[in-house]
Subunit: 240 residues, 2 copies
Amino acid sequence: MPRRTSAAPLSRAGVLAAATAIADATGLGEVTMRRVAADLGVEAMSLYHYVSGKDDLLDGLVEAVMAEITREAAPNGVERAGEDWRIDVRERCLAARRVMIRHPWAPALLSSRTTVPLAVYLYYEGLLADMINGGFTYSLGHRALHALGSMALGFDRGVFSPAPAGGLDDAAAEAEFAELAAMLPQLSAMAASEFHDNADPTLDWCDSQTEFEFTLDLLLDGLQRAHEAAAPRVPRGRRR
Amino acid sequence: MPRRTSAAPLSRAGVLAAATAIADATGLGEVTMRRVAADLGVEAMSLYHYVSGKDDLLDGLVEAVMAEITREAAPNGVERAGEDWRIDVRERCLAARRVMIRHPWAPALLSSRTTVPLAVYLYYEGLLADMINGGFTYSLGHRALHALGSMALGFDRGVFSPAPAGGLDDAAAEAEFAELAAMLPQLSAMAASEFHDNADPTLDWCDSQTEFEFTLDLLLDGLQRAHEAAAPRVPRGRRR
DNA sequence: ACCTGAACACCGTTCAAGT
DNA sequence: ACCTGAACACCGTTCAAGT
């Protein structure tokens, strides 16, 4: 039991920083009131002075992530020029994605929150403002936020992932894998085809940056089309 | 403690049915080994004869939901004709959505699973087969599965939802709400505008069926365009 | 004001024992 | 074979008590 070495007083920010460090290092499942407290050299109950409970701690983690996205999108504290809604929205989504890649636990945390923290609304406010400035109606802006879905926050929340349950270490597992591939002929053929085309080794042939950008541009294309169909004359900003 | 009334022997299907009933009635959080067992008039440890643990029970719930989607998409046990990939894919997504609406806990469960159950792969296999039959390359099929994301399983996994944390019961909460609206001018204006246009009362003005279908058609439009750009001559099936 | 120890009400899961 | 009671190792959280 390491006593607290530094006399630095506890604070909400300190508690959240400790929790973030644990999540980054060992995953969200290890983020426990007792564990966070132990890392701070303190008992679990002390945390309740800075955080109203476990739920508030998790909301705090979300706020920290959203703040990091804001810094990522405006590196010098300045917002983008804002001449083209499409570039602005795209850059916001890509900035969010860079942060999500740094914190792989964040998408699951975001998805699991039952109540939406204010910081998330502030982020959506910025996205919507980009589009309204670009001449979107509120109706189309509303549809756009839904259409972007989790892409707006920088992740692809499909349940689809290339490796099925269980590893393929021994021969038994390999036989099981072959049987499974027989049940999934198209998915197997797709995996084989994509492997072959791809210089990149097995890791991350799925959910790569190019997949993300393909989907994002597909959505932005569609929104741009819907926008121009409703208002063929672009009010301000330049065309692509 | 109600003893087990019927002498019906326990079974995996029975355990899953009890768990599904609990989730439907009171939410996923109440699905507990002890609670499921109690509803079956049995002790928690008895469940381990039919389910290898809590994780296996949750995988079982996912399998039950996927089976329900399959039944929903092929009501009489027959698959669709398959003349147009777009109609086939669309109908599969809408069938999945009808099931998700019946089991509001399912999207969160699907998203939280760290390992993907076989039933989910079988579902994706069907979706991919629709597109390959429609002349898609494996590369475009792969991109399409990613692009559809959670829409493929019938839900819109954005974190966006209209009501911020906390109710607006008393005057204090209402003042807080006004302050919050001032921080979110565009979102507030959007909400007001959409409310005004919508005959439908407050409930579900967001995440409605029309929003879902708008996003789905936006994605299908984009995929169709990408498909036709790569292979301008449609191999089989009719054009829209 | 800030931190603590003991306790409470829950979890999932094990194990040896019953029938 | 199927079910059980007691126990274990964890949770988040409360409360009265320390300083």
